[in-house]
Symmetry: C2
Subunit: 568 residues, 2 copies
């Protein structure tokens, strides 16, 4: 392909309004242009990458017998009113009326549509399981679209849906999909982590989230530096070292006037915060819950909510500490707490001795307390804390590291929520009507570009993994008007195209410096420079990722390119 016929508007300056590296590079290298906030035009180079990603997805979906089709983005609002998501999505939906005043919306995802269309025919266990997917534009009216393709209002998704007759079929579909997603993200050259996700608005019971490691990511992931362990910070746990065994001292009450923080208490008592048993009072679905945790840790609301199985969780107000916990704000503690308060002990407290804690008396604290001072039996310990970087991974392998992550895929066991909403039932072996068991599986195709470029770039531009590069080889003649150089360049292009490679040739009349800078910026895996040695049929190969160059004779060219591309 001739570069003069492509539309690749490279920029010399980094656009000032682009924060993310991937956004900057996609603008600078002429991959994308904004049409509206959160809506981009995919110029020829980025579109070529999108098509390559789509083909990788097609191959992997075919392997697991997941079949491609396509739904409209233009949907009747009634569908979403029926599932209740018209309300829960709220402002995130683009809604409008047609010329006959009927209500429509643009699809942000397609559970409702697939369920209603498929229920017509998937009416017998004999027709299940079925797995279907599509790749298309999706719409969400994000409050703050940003970071280029990372958070858009129109974006490209691959979304798949599985329809199963029983839990085993769902498990097979879910596991197949997980493996396919691994293969896809591996092929994209991504460093990613699979974490157990919070099911969120889908209301599912089981989900996994694929996160590409990147500083620009919107979530924090905690992961082991040596094992596969990985979790969203809200879900992450760690293995704590056993605390040192000490001889138990005698509990005492001391005056602690005007102390309102753990730090203040530690300072006053001249002890470490880790020697304080901190109390945090919560109201969980209107019931009082007192969480005890080591002074150097914070309570993780998500874990606590899951533990006490609450729909709503709030910290208690000072008034509630008095009225519901019958205690004194700032001095609350488990000793003598009334039976209608549930007391939760975080596992950070396990083995702690000679600690300080609140006595439910104003301006006082206990010191040198031990569990036998609080209750007859040793309490049960639960993990309700936010883990810290550097702690041991819960699987015992390696220590936890934190990183930001970009969500690139998500797989859900939906269960029967949507099939019940829409009456999608099938007759089982005994002729009994049952709701179809569903799963849904998404990949953010357009944001994959952002994730990949965040991970694959240097100060000169993008560095494409071989399988995704718009062109595997970029031929750059120093002077394309020179007969010898042009002839050899064209010959090089033909030789490589005949071998099935995608080749771009810079046939522009620009200076070599401009051409090289543009070439680095665009990021094809191999650049072939055709210059003065063209007379001797010698060209220079440059590997984009390492910067290495070698001179090669025309006759060895195809072979050299083959080897170089294989080794990347």
């Amino acid at each position: 392909m001739k570069q003069s016929r492509m539309y690749i508007p490279t920029l010399k300056q980094t656009p000032s309004d682009a924060e993310a590296v991937s956004h900057q590079l996609m603008l600078r290298a002429g991959y994308i242009r904004q049409v509206a906030a959160g809506a981009y035009s995919y110029l020829p180079l980025s579109w070529s990458v999108i098509l390559k990603i789509e083909n990788i997805i097609r191959k992997e979906m075919a392997k697991i017998e997941c079949v491609e089709m396509n739904m409209p983005a233009f949907l009747p609002a009634d569908l979403w009113k029926e599932s209740g998501r018209y309300e829960t999505y709220g402002d995130t939906l683009f809604t409008f009326k047609d010329r006959h005043d009927r209500e429509f919306m643009l699809g942000p995802t397609h559970e409702e549509t697939f369920t209603t269309v498929m229920k017509e025919n998937l009416n017998s266990y004999k027709k299940l399981p079925v797995l279907l997917y599509q790749m298309q534009a999706k719409y969400r009216d994000e409050d703050r679209p940003r970071y280029g393709l990372l958070r858009c209002r129109e974006f490209i998704m691959k979304d798949a849906y599985s329809f199963s007759a029983n839990q085993e079929q769902l498990d097979v579909a879910f596991n197949d999909m997980e493996q396919a997603y691994r293969n896809i993200f591996d092929a994209c050259g991504l460093d990613y982590r699979i974490i157990l996700g919070d099911a969120g608005p889908m209301g599912g019971t089981d989900s996994k989230e694929f996160n590409a490691v990147a500083a620009i990511g919107e979530d924090t992931i905690a992961y082991s530096d040596t094992s596969e362990y990985s979790a969203n910070l809200e879900m992450a746990s760690s293995k704590l070292d056993p605390l040192p065994v000490e001889e138990h001292k005698a509990i005492e009450t001391v005056d602690t006037p005007d102390v309102h923080t753990i730090d203040g208490l530690a300072q006053l008592l001249n002890i470490d915060a880790s020697k304080i048993m901190k109390a945090v009072a919560y109201i969980a679905d209107e019931k009082p819950v007192l969480v005890m945790i080591r002074g150097d840790y914070q309570v993780n609301d998500v874990k606590l909510k899951n533990l006490v199985k609450a729909d709503f969780l709030d910290e208690a107000t000072p008034e509630q500490v008095v009225s519901l916990f019958h205690s004194v704000p700032g001095f609350i503690g488990p000793k003598g707490m009334s039976d209608d308060v549930r007391v939760v002990y975080d596992s950070s407290l396990e083995g702690l001795s000679n600690f300080a804690l609140g006595p439910n008396v104003e301006n006082k604290h206990y010191i040198n307390a031990n569990f036998e001072d609080i209750s007859e039996n040793m309490p049960e310990f639960n993990d309700v804390r936010i883990v810290k970087e550097g702690e041991k991974s819960p699987d015992g392998k390696g220590v936890l590291k934190f990183n930001r992550g970009i969500e690139i895929g998500h797989i859900f066991k939906l269960g029967t929520k949507f099939s019940k909403d829409f009456g999608a039932t099938f007759l089982d072996e005994n002729g009994k009507a049952k709701p179809i068991i569903m799963g849904s599986y998404g990949i953010g195709i357009s944001r994959l570009l952002s994730a990949i470029i965040e991970q694959h770039n240097d100060e000169n531009g993008i560095i494409w993994p071989v399988r995704l590069a718009p062109f595997q080889v970029h031929v750059v003649p120093i002077n394309y008007k020179d007969d010898t150089q042009r002839k050899l360049s064209d010959e090089v292009v033909s030789l490589l195209q005949d071998e099935g490679y995608d080749v771009l040739i810079d046939d522009r009349g620009e200076r070599p410096g401009v051409k090289f800078a543009d070439s680095d910026l665009m990021g094809m895996p191999i650049r072939i420079t055709v210059g003065k040695k063209a007379a001797d049929s010698i060209v220079e190969l440059k590997i984009r990722s390492t910067g290495e160059t070698i001179e090669v004779n025309k006759d060895e060219l195809v072979n050299s390119v083959k080897i170089l591309l294989k080794n990347q």
Copy 2:
């Protein structure tokens, strides 16, 4: 691919609300389902055809160096307000506001978007020409969506745009595109006609329309039965046989009371309608125009409008005939007509003699009139009539036939309308700023399915052209539970897949009759039935288009399939 894992909801009954054959068949054969009026889900079989069409388009676009990219469908309304099309499209646009109350719309086409995005970089003659295209969902709020995929509110288009520095570059792009379109429609196995189109709302100066011949089509095409001549009925012309030469009689005035139609006049005078010079009074941009035409022809408004270069054309009211033509409604004629009325003579009158016409006097007509009775000089004749089927083609080759056509493609020389609207200029060789010369080129991809099926079907279902069939071969075991049949069927599938064919196998537990009916309905080019002779490794090949069957041994299978598919 296993049929049990595809989603192919075939129907035994023809849905009562589907009028078009293609619509009926796509519903019955499980290719599409409606999601909203004018919005369809493309089930796996139809989507597979769409992808094949897209790949044919890709190949042809690559040949003419037209590069693929992708624009959002979600567009700021301002873009279209600037071009004026926000108003001219009116109710046809889907418009809505985002959460910040900004106005947006869904793109029905993308001239505005391409012009604004590309103008940034296409600023020098050195960067031109550039040809770009995309394939994506487009949106039009049609008043009456109908005929399945033929007239939808969400539909799939391929739209291309050319940017040129001069007329020659535009001509090359236009001609390249025409050839590419011919190749694409040929590959789709379509019988189509290329007609000189009315430029319409694009405001272009030159356009060609590709129409697939089909009874369900919305336009009437007139075409020669032997040459390439083809035109929309509104644009078609014909070659009339010379009229017989007669001796001129003397003009007379006769009483014709209460005669208000040509037929009535012909009856009263006992002459043929072709011996009457009919007058039709028009107001063209507020000016009076009197059209004279043979009594057996009708005036073609489009031709007349073009001839008198009018923006608005209406038939004159009886009041206007009196006030502006100074005549009598029903008895108007050219003789003695005032000079401020333009008189147009249709070429059907050339050589007419001894005819009747209106004398501008109530209840009278001239008979036996000749041109010398009307004016001193023989008038100029122009073609302003609607042609009739059976007339000679204007190129003298063959006679005109009429047929309905489905518009499947349209190529336009846009000129500088959009580049001027958006200030898209480039510097020419002399450093002078000029507006870019544009072209736009569309293919209705989803409606192609309708057009192809309208042309390729029989009473049993669809008959796919080989290159578009979702699967080239449909393997149908009589009893897939029978070990011998299953083994041979699976082997047949592998053998053919290894040769690169797309193969579907009916692994369902249905009766053979159901399987065969479904197979014919779905329409793959070759069906391979695996039945009792499986024990002898013999299968039956059936050619869908002809119904021919042959028995073939497993060893000859691949070769037979190869030959049969090549010959279709």
